[in-house]
Homo-oligomer: 327 residues x 2
Amino acid sequence: MSLLGIDLGGTKLGMAVFTTSGAILHKEQLLLNGREGAAVGELISSSIRSCITGDAFKSDPVQAVGISVPGISRRNGMVWAPNIPGWDDYPLLAEASRACGDIPIRIESDRACCILGEVWQGNARNCRNAIFLAVGTGIGAGILADGRILRGAGDISGAIGWMSFGGLFEDKYKRCGHFEYYASGNGIARQAAEMLQQRPDYRGALRNKPAGEITCHDVFAAYDSNDPIAETVIRGCIVYWGMAIANLVSLFNSEKLILGGGVFGPASRFIPAIGIEAQKWAQPLGFREASIEAAALGGEAGVYGAAYTALQLLATDNHKTLPGNVQ
Amino acid sequence: MSLLGIDLGGTKLGMAVFTTSGAILHKEQLLLNGREGAAVGELISSSIRSCITGDAFKSDPVQAVGISVPGISRRNGMVWAPNIPGWDDYPLLAEASRACGDIPIRIESDRACCILGEVWQGNARNCRNAIFLAVGTGIGAGILADGRILRGAGDISGAIGWMSFGGLFEDKYKRCGHFEYYASGNGIARQAAEMLQQRPDYRGALRNKPAGEITCHDVFAAYDSNDPIAETVIRGCIVYWGMAIANLVSLFNSEKLILGGGVFGPASRFIPAIGIEAQKWAQPLGFREASIEAAALGGEAGVYGAAYTALQLLATDNHKTLPGNVQ
């Protein structure tokens, strides 16, 4: 018996077949190569068919399929994925179900899959209350609360990039939210560029590129050589990340706060400093019970989480209980 | 068939017997009269017994009991209630179960009961995603997410009084949290007192009392006569309440944000202004789907919610579904 996890990204499709105990039997990656709309759905369907019917898995047939999507998975089976052209409201469940036949399938958002992957095989194993704070180009959170993924009225819960940290509102926050404006990968690059313009006297490493081309990774590299602008930007982000972790601890009373996404990565070394900042603000009993950790699965969290959601589906269908009674 | 709801407060015990459709058949209130520890539990038990066995309900016998407690209801049946001396870890479930005999019983925190009451008979009817922001002497939140009360790893979720809104941390926030320090009833009184000390030239109505005796209600009364200190304090609170609502909308994607507790009350007139502030910061799709409203049940939300949790218990035991599939 095996599980198929599929992780759709903006440019590629990752797939892996897992044992029910989380060992990878097979994995592969396909490029989307500019596919749009229904062609992306068909690529997913043909990949499912090849895994279900292929000779490779005859001894361990796929019993359930999970798909991670880079956007919103609605309970009616429709998917909104801003980076896949034509997926404003794409009927992925209907499309993929045809390929699955009798095999059960579930679709989850990438942020939900990230925390589910960490709960299954990463740094939040067996937790029923754990949050994945995904800090990449943007910021979002996958929230497992009391053993269930938090969905909300319109399936868009976890939009933590919009968290307000006070001060005066500025129109520039409107497109992405206050927290994301400053403390995402894009925010780090943007802040460095803004500071360069304000400091014509600065002669450091960040001057080697036009301000508009500076990346988040340039800022981390400059930080390593004690660059003053990079230090100011990163120190500010540590405060924001710490306050966000504090607010999550106070609201959700989570056991694990997992920091992941492309920025963690290089920012993982700051987790102790983020913890010191979070401790100032958080509800103290909740903070004492919480652990702040880097993600364990890196770029594979999505495909692990997709497979785990397939395992959850099997457990529900068979009235079994998973460790931690995660549903 | 009827339901018994019990609402324990710091100084009194409210009780009401309800029909399953939410009509009150009987209600009464007992003063704790300085009772402590086990004596409070015994008062609850004797009240349960009199409702269960009393002649008054022979035609509509009590089928389930719910209790709202002013603190934390742990899943092991123990209760922590800071305002009841001796209730650091009181075995209320064991005590009250003896009085109930075969009748099922459930204990919930007061903030959970407030949102459940509003979901049953108030301004959040039939919602599966709704939050009660209780602003009284302190601040807390009762959170219904995807049809379930959010509990967290240690049953202390919803500690929103600790929400950080940025700026520099000050030690004075340590006892109650940043949000509560400024925007609770105590916070409103404290801020007014601090401003009085900073403004020896001020000659308004708030000078009629020693600064240490000013109450939240004095500040609202002064606001009504255009007092400049009261206006500054209340305007600041509107910003805090708005940011908190925004953060809840972004994280939980709730349909209803219910503002209650003693401060709403007098602050209910500011809900439109709070909405304008919240709209600036919140995730825009989520905000469009959300409605910000005053609590409908006032001081009775707890007893309604306690009865509703009893109804939930009956529904679960009988495999029935309540409106909105709230569990």
